[in-house]
């Protein structure tokens, strides 16, 4: 087995990828920890150490709190709506409760192939009060006094949630479908013999056996929700009146539009700490022995 013990050769194989990874991922992330403690306008490499100054400034910044609130709002709503819809679709498709299941499986996934930018521009058009499809559709039913969907805080936030849901459901549906298809058919046969209906087999077989996949998708949804950027930036640019501003768009604005690089990184660090601890928390809450068939 001397072949596989050739450490020097192995190192030569690993090194190029590792150097790349070290340079462009590890180094920036490591630096981020340092940068969040400095005041830095980015023109030169001159940084002024402020200790926890940036954090103090953040605590007193109402826009930070507003962005945080909006981010949580988007994450919670998508985190509830997306898995519910995806699970419903996945069950109906796998348990053959719907005709044309294959067709729906394919089409529902379409939005996941499109750039978030394209999705956002597409819906920005579709929600246009004059020629957009939503307004025109509602006019067919005699509604005339329609709002400018992206121009009013309440509607704009609802629109962001709706578009995020539209963009995500297909992906989660595919994940749930694969998990359900992994459940042995015998379990469902046993249910049938016991006289259980579709709802009961869902509650007593499908749902408990999906716990592992729920854990994974829970973390995905969390990361996705807290990272909300593209859709907001394109559709509303955080407006109107910062009603849709998220932490990610606020970080971008501070760093690349206002040049407050240190402060932006402080917020990014906060975003990371929140996401990371919530992810760990959700894994801990959902901890359970994994199922082996």
């Amino acid at each position: 087995m001397s072949l596989q013990n050739n450490g020097r050769v192995a190192l030569l194989f690993v090194l190029p990828a590792f150097l790349f990874y070290l340079t462009f991922l590890i180094v920036p992330y490591a630096l981020a920890f340092g940068v969040s403690f400095v005041k830095w306008r980015g023109v030169t490499l001159n940084m002024e150490y402020t200790g926890l100054g940036n954090f103090a400034k953040m605590i007193g910044d109402p826009f930070f709190w507003k962005s945080l609130y909006n981010t949580v709002f988007f994450t919670v709503l998508t985190g509830i709506i997306v898995p519910c819809m995806a699970l419903y679709f996945a069950v109906a498709v796998t348990r053959k409760l719907v005709a044309g299941a294959r067709f729906f499986r394919i089409t529902f996934f379409f939005p996941n192939l499109i750039s978030q930018v394209a999705i956002a521009v597409l819906w920005w058009f579709a929600l246009n009060p004059e020629f957009g499809i939503l307004s025109n559709f509602l006019r067919l039913f005699g509604f005339t006094d329609l709002p400018s969907w992206l121009g009013e805080p309440g509607w704009a936030r609802a629109a962001i949630v709706a578009v995020k849901v539209w963009a995500a459901v297909g992906f989660y549906m595919v994940l749930y479908v694969s998990a359900i298809e992994g459940i042995p058919e015998d379990y469902y046969d046993a249910c049938k013999i016991d006289g259980a209906g579709e709802w009961q087999s869902f509650r007593h077989v499908t749902l408990p056996l999906l716990s592992e996949m729920m854990k994974v998708t829970g973390v995905f949804l969390l990361l996705n929700g807290f990272g909300t950027f593209d859709v907001v930036r394109i559709m509303t640019d955080g407006g109107p009146d910062r009603a849709t501003e998220t932490l990610a768009t606020y970080i971008y604005e501070n760093a690349f539009e206002l040049g407050k690089f240190g402060y932006a990184t402080t917020i990014a660090m906060t975003l990371f700490l929140i996401t990371f601890s919530l992810a760990m928390l959700s894994l801990w809450i959902q901890r359970r022995d994994s199922v082996e068939y």
Partner: protein
């Protein structure tokens, strides 16, 4: 239990109909905006304002021509092609080399390196964004295709290593030994024998990388500024901002069609593989 069952039977017929309706309605919500976009791209903006639903009076390619030339979508398209392919080649090659060594050799610090790579899957892009920007700037690679290709490839390495290491582990070691017997060097062995055997794994990673790089926005936004270097998503985003003030949407509609088609076609052709790939990524990740 009995009650629940009776209810179940009573409603099963109605439920079937409702479910079918829900699927059809949601199907329309998913597909119709794309179809609307598709045919509106052939209409002049004046027609769009006159009647938003109607099919174009004449199917003219004017918008596409305008988009491709005047709005620079043609440039953005070739930029996207160049950046995506270069990233794919670099990332797959480097990633495959590393994965091969991690799967088939034993060396000190192996686990540390492997989990070090996987940790990269956990970090949100926004945390490293500012330092990354200055790093790329310091290296003199800001606003260059080379810079963004290197960054994309580096960001793709964790996923590549994750999938390909698992894949290389399934290839029997005896094949390696046979290769060495035949007088191959380690690198020839990798290039001529192992890499071709890993083709299914490479395809999976390749498809996902293609889709994600083709659609990527935030890194392009931060790392590219010259208009002639923009990739499609970045170019479209800028175009939206500009056309909002000019109220001329034709080129933008056409641009959207151009950015959407390649990945949709890729999916329709490789649908099975993509679906399988997502599951592999999620279950093991």
């Amino acid at each position: 239990m009995e009650d629940e069952n009776t209810l179940d039977r009573l409603f099963s017929g109605a439920r079937r109909i409702i479910t079918q309706c829900v699927f059809m309605v949601y199907g329309v919500i998913v597909v119709f905006p794309m179809i609307w976009l598709g045919y509106t791209a052939f209409k002049p903006t004046s027609e769009l304002f006159a009647s938003a639903w109607a099919l174009p009076v004449e199917w003219k390619l004017d918008n596409f021509v305008e988009a491709w030339t005047e709005a620079q979508i043609g440039d953005f398209f070739w930029n996207s092609i160049f950046v995506t392919i270069s990233t794919l080649v670099l990332q797959l090659f480097l990633g495959a080399m590393a994965s091969y060594a991690l799967a088939k050799y034993r060396f000190r610090g192996q686990n540390l390196v492997y989990y070090g790579f996987l940790a990269g899957l956990m970090f949100p892009i926004f945390l490293g964004l500012v330092p990354l920007f200055f790093l790329v700037k310091t290296l003199g690679l800001l606003d260059t295709h080379l810079g963004i290709i290197l960054v994309y490839a580096a960001f793709g390495i964790p996923f590549t290593v994750f999938v390909l290491t698992a894949f290389f582990r399934t290839i029997p070691t005896t094949i390696m030994e046979a290769g060495i017997m035949d007088g191959c060097g380690h690198f020839t062995l990798f290039l001529r024998i192992m890499l071709p055997l890993a083709k299914p794994g490479l395809t999976t990673v390749g498809i996902f990388t293609f889709i994600s790089i083709w659609n990527e926005y935030i890194l392009a936004l931060v790392l590219l500024s010259s208009s002639h270097l923009r990739t499609l998503p970045l170019g479209i985003a800028v175009l939206q901002f500009v056309q909002f003030y000019e109220v001329d949407f034709g080129a933008l509609f056409a641009g959207l069609v151009i950015v959407m088609l390649p990945t949709l076609i890729c999916y329709i052709v490789l649908q099975e593989q993509i679906t399988k790939g997502i599951t592999v990524g999620a279950v093991k990740g």
